[in-house]
């Protein structure tokens, strides 16, 4: 049986402007969560809020999420104090599929780096080579650069403003990769939808598989309310598209199935 857990906020670490890593107690979630899965966490408003898992610590029975302030719910969660308790459902949804993955190119936009760090960590433990490409608006908005560099086999960063890393977006960085870098790689992309679309096209042009983590406004997080749907191809059913639940069939989906 699954349960709704009570989790205690144990640690809050500010990482860059408006972002924090929050670590909660949670033996069951720490034990089960896979990269790309998410947790649904209560706040003072009506609905829970979904966050990709950033890391788990199975020794200390904790899990960590990255939170950016994007509205009143995230603002409330970010303003909570150590010792505050939350109701949590998770781990939820499907994470990244590591089956037959020989090499990973992890492409993050902004806070997309949070769940990708968990994937990079797992890849490292499996001995899978990784290249991380993360795009930010500018130096002020960038975070976790050192952590990413230490986890990934190779890491490169881009900034829209051009004040650090490669001037431009993640596609500019991807174009600098050599044939050797990309050959046989699986692409994992998390970020704004337009970025994931472009990255999936870049991958498709090179014959690379691509998994993307979709984001939708959610309510239940467990697949019963049907509000967080994504449009996916359904030619085999003889219809132009079908709606699948981001929380249940996703959030990580095979990019070739997604209708952007």
């Amino acid at each position: 049986m699954n349960r709704e857990y009570v989790a205690v906020l144990l640690e809050k670490k500010i990482v860059g402007k408006g972002n924090a890593l929050l670590t909660f107690s949670g033996k069951e979630i720490a034990g089960k969560a896979e990269p790309g899965q998410f947790v649904n966490i209560s706040c003072r408003y009506f609905l829970k809020r979904p966050f990709g898992v950033f890391a788990v610590d199975t020794k200390n029975n904790t899990f960590t999420i990255g939170v950016r302030e994007t509205g009143k719910g995230t603002k409330d969660i970010l303003s909570s104090r150590i010792g505050d308790t939350f109701l949590v459902l998770g781990p939820l949804g499907n994470g990244f599929d590591f089956a037959n993955v020989q090499k990973i190119i992890a492409v993050g936009g902004g806070t997309g780096i949070f769940p990708l760090m968990f994937a990079l960590e797992k890849a490292k433990s499996f001995g899978i080579p990784t290249i991380a490409v993360n795009g930010f608006r500018g130096k002020e908005d960038a975070f976790l650069l050192d952590d990413c560099e230490s986890l990934a086999g190779k890491a490169c960063f881009t900034s829209d403003a051009g004040d650090f890393g490669i001037h431009g977006n993640v596609l500019h960085a991807l174009d600098t990769l050599t044939k050797e870098d990309t050959s046989g790689a699986a692409v994992f992309a998390v970020g704004p939808e337009i970025m994931m679309k472009k990255v999936s096209e870049w991958a498709a042009e090179r014959g690379l598989s691509c998994q993307v983590s979709l984001e939708r406004r959610m309510a239940c997080g467990i697949g019963i309310c049907l509000v967080c749907v994504c449009k996916v191809k359904a030619a085999e059913k003889g219809i132009p598209f079908t709606h699948v639940r981001c929380c249940k069939e996703g959030p990580v989906m095979n990019a070739s199935e997604v209708i952007w």
């Binding site: 049986m1 699954n2 349960r3 709704e4 408003y45 009506f46 609905l47 829970k48 719910g73 109701l87 459902l89 939708r216 406004r217 959610m218 309510a219 239940c220 467990i222 697949g223 019963i224 309310c225 049907l226 509000v227 967080c228 749907v229 994504c230 449009k231 219809i239 598209f241 079908t242 709606h243 249940k248």
Partner: protein, 307 residues
Amino acid sequence: MVDLSVQVGKLKLRNPVLLASGTCGFGRELKEYIDFSSIGGICSKGLTVLPREGNPGCRVAETPSGMLNSVGLQNPGLDRFVEYELPFMRTLDTAVIANIAGHSTEDYQRMTQVLGAPDSPVDALELNLSCPNVKEGCMTIGATPEGVYQMIKSVRSLTDKPLWVKLTPNVTSITATALAAEEAGGDAVVLINTLLGMAIDIKTRRPVLMNNTGGLSGPAIKPVAIRMISECYRLLSIPIIGVGGIMSAEDVIEFMIAGASAVEIGTASLLHPAVCEKIALDLEEYMLDNQLNAISELTGTLRLWES
């Protein structure tokens, strides 16, 4: 030993707590969170003859003490339900109610013929005359007493199964539509479906929901449901199933005092998947604490102030 069982017309339920349509799918996901033998029943997702993909997203907006949804009856259709979902629901050890919706009289008749047949494993049919998120059928039929009356008349003779009628609060007079349901042969009325609402993104000056409007649910609508149940209880002879913002056993008690014989839990399950099981347990405790022998004794015990 306290008696939590309730009688809704000819259907006896283990306890008055049912899962509301549209907030529990067909029970597959909640089976991982609750023991279905602890609750009174489950109402299927709203069904249509053909599969429906529903409305485009965004389909949800958070509101004060509630939420708006504009799902639009996304469901696998009648055939798939009968082949795949219904046999599963039947394994859940609780009453199974099929919520049926449609565009036309023919749709409702076809669904009633199939799901209301004598050998159908469904315990009751819930006629959805109240979904606010589709362009045809549902709320457009349930908006007037004549519409409610005609639709029930058109399906009543097709089944001997209990016919529950889920009504919309988006009407001038809920007693008029509820009485029409009773006169046309409905076995019970389910009060209330969601209230039609809208939320606006002030940055884009566009509705949050791609459907522009949606159905408001959650504790925000509970007082409306209580008032409507109380009004209808005084005029109706058929039982009332209460729904609308129930979050706790105390809420269930309140609904029953107002006149409900049983209740449906909807939005609360979206927040806390196991809430209905907890509510059923809490009801038992409430009865012990208050020396009640049978929970059905509560129904309609409201004493209004003289005015």
